[in-house]
């Protein structure tokens, strides 16, 4: 809407012979204006008012950003590691270049340099398309990895690609059987076929401080969890709790997976009684009965109420950590609650910005066609000027978005 004046206005044709005697230079000076500068000045004020409107349009999203960042700084701290600074930085450079060529285009139009104008507009369009291309790569990766907004936030992995149990979707992984890395206490990527598993609480339950109430074969969605739950077959097993004189009955489950369960982070989920009674050092081994040497370890990322990572291997003695270690730890730990809000705001802001870039492309293509036709002259170059102003604002918004989203520390 930055360009309310179309050259092929019916205005002239409609009112032939109705000339107020203004000294119109370009044929694109509309009838109701006194002269070229009157039209240019009006358009300029109009586009500035429009840009003020645009700033306010974006302002609500910036308020969202500030509000949620104030209330939940930890999710920004965590989630920005998902974003690839490399892509953001390239896009910043691309947009700044396009702003330069847009400004240059205005200069060319003022000086009646048609070829320069066409070149500058072409480069601007190319940059805008390039920006959207890079944005597409970023978005596609996020969609694939489940790093999405709101209810759709269900990432396959932490920022440093430690696999996570997902609630709802299949994350792309290898076709091999799931292998739990006993040293890290985390599953590697994998796929569990329709097999029987025995979940044996014995080995890692030596130091258990509470009993295991329920074991869910939870991986790819609640539906499958339900399915698995129905096929749970409790088997009683005596075991000795380390240090405790009183032997306890610990449940042991046989779980039948009826279909392929694929994904990084495939494993079983154990729920350990009441939250306050849970011990920190409980672990479960999940072993496939007829697949030798494949062991899975229970992890508890999947449901919001059990985000605490359990498992013997996670317990670390407290020691001073370096910054790099802290980042490493942050990036490998599961997302804090409400991390989805970061992506809600990220997608809302960059999405709206992207729509503005797309609109800018249409405007610049239209200008390019008109430039090729030779419509712009030193006394009529308003549309180029207005579009460039619009483009600078779009650029400026990105200049704010890039550090606010990608460069948080």
């Amino acid at each position: 809407m930055s360009e309310p004046h179309d050259p092929d206005s019916g205005h002239h044709g409609e009112h032939d012979g109705h000339d107020h005697g203004h000294g119109h230079g370009s044929r694109f000076i509309q009838h109701h204006y006194d002269d070229a500068s009157h039209q240019f000045d009006s358009g300029k004020l109009g586009i500035w008012a429009f840009l003020v409107q645009e700033v306010l349009f974006f302002s609500a999203l910036f308020v969202c950003y500030i509000l949620y960042r104030t209330h939940h700084p930890e999710i920004y701290e965590y989630a920005h590691h998902y974003l690839q600074v490399k892509f953001g930085a390239i896009n910043t450079g691309v947009l700044i270049l396009s702003s330069l060529t847009a400004a240059w285009a205005v200069r060319c139009a003022q000086l009646n340099q048609r070829k320069g104008l066409i070149l500058c507009l072409t480069v601007t369009i190319a940059c805008a398309v390039g920006f959207l291309g890079i944005k597409y790569v970023e978005y596609a990766h996020k969609i694939e990895m489940g790093e999405l907004y709101g209810a759709k936030f269900d990432p396959c992995a932490t920022p440093n690609e430690t696999p996570l149990l997902t609630k709802s979707k299949l994350c792309k992984g290898t076709k091999s059987s799931v292998v739990w890395n006993k040293d890290t206490g985390k599953p590697d990527a994998g796929c569990i076929g329709p097999k029987a598993f025995r979940i044996n609480a014995e080995t890692h339950a030596i130091t258990a401080k509470c009993t295991v109430d329920e074991v869910k074969f939870a991986l790819n969605g609640d539906k499958k969890t339900e399915q698995s739950r129905r096929s749970l077959e409790p088997c009683e097993m005596e075991r000795e709790a380390g240090g405790e004189s009183k032997p306890k009955k610990t449940p042991c489950f046989l779980i039948q997976a009826n279909e392929n369960v694929c994904g990084a982070g495939a494993g079983a989920l154990a729920l350990y009684g009441d939250e306050e009674k849970r011990g920190d050092d409980i672990g479960l081994d999940v072993a496939c009965v007829d697949l030798p040497a494949v062991e899975a370890k229970a992890d508890v990322f999947a449901t919001p109420e059990t985000t605490t990572t359990l498992g013997a291997k996670q317990i670390q003695p407290i020691a001073a950590k370096t910054d790099a270690e802290e980042v490493e730890e942050l990036e490998s730990s599961p997302p804090p609650p409400k991390t989805n809000m970061f992506f809600s705001i990220y997608f809302a802001m960059t999405g709206l910005h992207g729509i503005h870039v797309l609109f800018g492309i249409f405007v610049f293509v239209w200008l390019l066609i008109r430039a090729i036709k030779g419509h712009f002259t030193p006394d009529y170059f308003g549309p180029v000027d207005y579009a460039a102003l619009y483009w600078h604002l779009v650029d400026l918004i990105w200049i704010f978005l890039f550090p606010l989203m990608y460069l948080i520390h």
């Binding site: 206005s9 005697g21 109009g46 409107q53 907004y149 209810a151 759709k152 809600s344």
Partner: protein
Amino acid sequence: MAHAATADTTPEPSYLEVTKGWKSWAYTLDHKRIGFMYLIGILCALMLGGAFALLVRAELFLPGETIVGQARYNELFTLHGAVMVFLVIVPGIPAALGNFILPIQLGAPDVAFPRLNLASFYLWCIGASLMILSIVLGGIDTGWTFYTPYSLTSQGAVIPAVLGVFVLGFSSIFTGLNFLVTVHKFRPQGMGWFQMPLNLWALYSTAVIQVLATPVLGITVLLLFVENFLHIGIFNPELGGDPVLFQHFFWFYSHPAVYIMIIPAMGVVSEIITTFSRKPIFGYRFIAYSSISLALLSFLVWGHHLFVSGQSRLATMVFSALTFTVAIPSAIKVFNWVATLYKGDIRLQTPMLYVLSFLLLFTIGGLTGLFLGILAIDVHLHDTYFVVAHFHYVMMGSTLVAFMGGLHYWFPKITGRMYPEKLGQLCAGGVFFGFNLTFLPQFIMGSRGMPRRYWDYDPEFTIFHQLSTVGAFILGISLFISVIYLAWAAKNGPKAPDNPWGGTTLEWSAPTPPVLYNFSTPPEVPEMYEYDDLVEDTVNGGWIRKPSTGPKTPKHH
């Protein structure tokens, strides 16, 4: 000038006759035709919204189910609110009357961006269609405010409705932007800021709010749309979002929007009251400044809609204090209008009757607003019929009454014909009486605890509800008759003179109805609100300038 040659041949055809056929209207860039089309659209929407209102009132005639069930009732009051606010009152005066009058009062040939103006009208049509679509698709029951989280779970057709509001928002922004630039860039030489008619000050202030506030509504309903569509979660507490944030954003627009509705009404009142008192407006600069200060203050008070929504105590106190400041410019205007009447040669024709109604109703509406600005009292009155009555006094009793006044005032200029005066006066009386009968009982009910938006009520409220319903039907019938006789008069009324009321602003120097570019020759800027120069024309009716005051040199361009 080119026109000198054509001056003594046949007169230029009016804007209504210059081209013919539906295409000449559908593709027109003439602000007068766009304003005319807006007017027709808005009057249709007014009748639709009014029909919803009457159904709501009919349902409330008796406790329990009267004509519709609970779910249908929720849809009726929602649609009444949404249609009246977004389709009628917000665009009413600026887009319909303002579009027609603003360039002529400036002596300009058109608005700055005629194409944008037409786009604004078509966006209004699209928005109206989406609203109607939401009715067809099962209605909406969220209330016109679309509060989250209910609007995220409601079974109604929320998506087309919020999309409609989004589109209507841009219609409003485009009109505001156009007016802003037009007032800045199209004032003729000799018309400084303080030589502008007060109507232009009002439309200018309105335009500022439209450009600054409406985008926030735009992004808010866009987020709500995306929320319903993609579950993005920003306003959804289940996903970690904040539903009260929606209320803040919504009222950051919708409170200033109240001033988008009322400030142009004040402009219309300022014009009519001086013309029909045959007296210069009292306190011109104060009225002008108060329009601007209302526009600015309107951005600082949105929090008074959230006194019971979990705002911090400090915020509520600050918003309460700021709310009272709004009373100052409003009161300045009322005092100046009353002072204009004082010792005036008052003519009680239909526009003036509406304006006198406005003075009384706006005073009641404004003063009851002060009650609601007091924190302790607001807790008692919040979401009761007291609030309903208060905002109807301001929106309907003030804005719509002023719109009707302005419509009658400029009707001869728009259509070139006079409306039936006696019938007009009768209907103006009916509107005043019916309105008060509808809403005065609601103040009483509200202060006694009758909650708004309730389908059923305790029997003790029956008599008030019945008075209110009877009043609403009187009001509805009066407005309906007005629309009918205006439609009739637009075709069949007696021909109107150029200046039927003896107005002094530029539109009364233009031919009736105006020609395509409003003035055949660039007009001279008249001495504004100077009534001594005008005498009644005993031959043709209306008023003409005394011959002795020789024309000054043309100043436009």
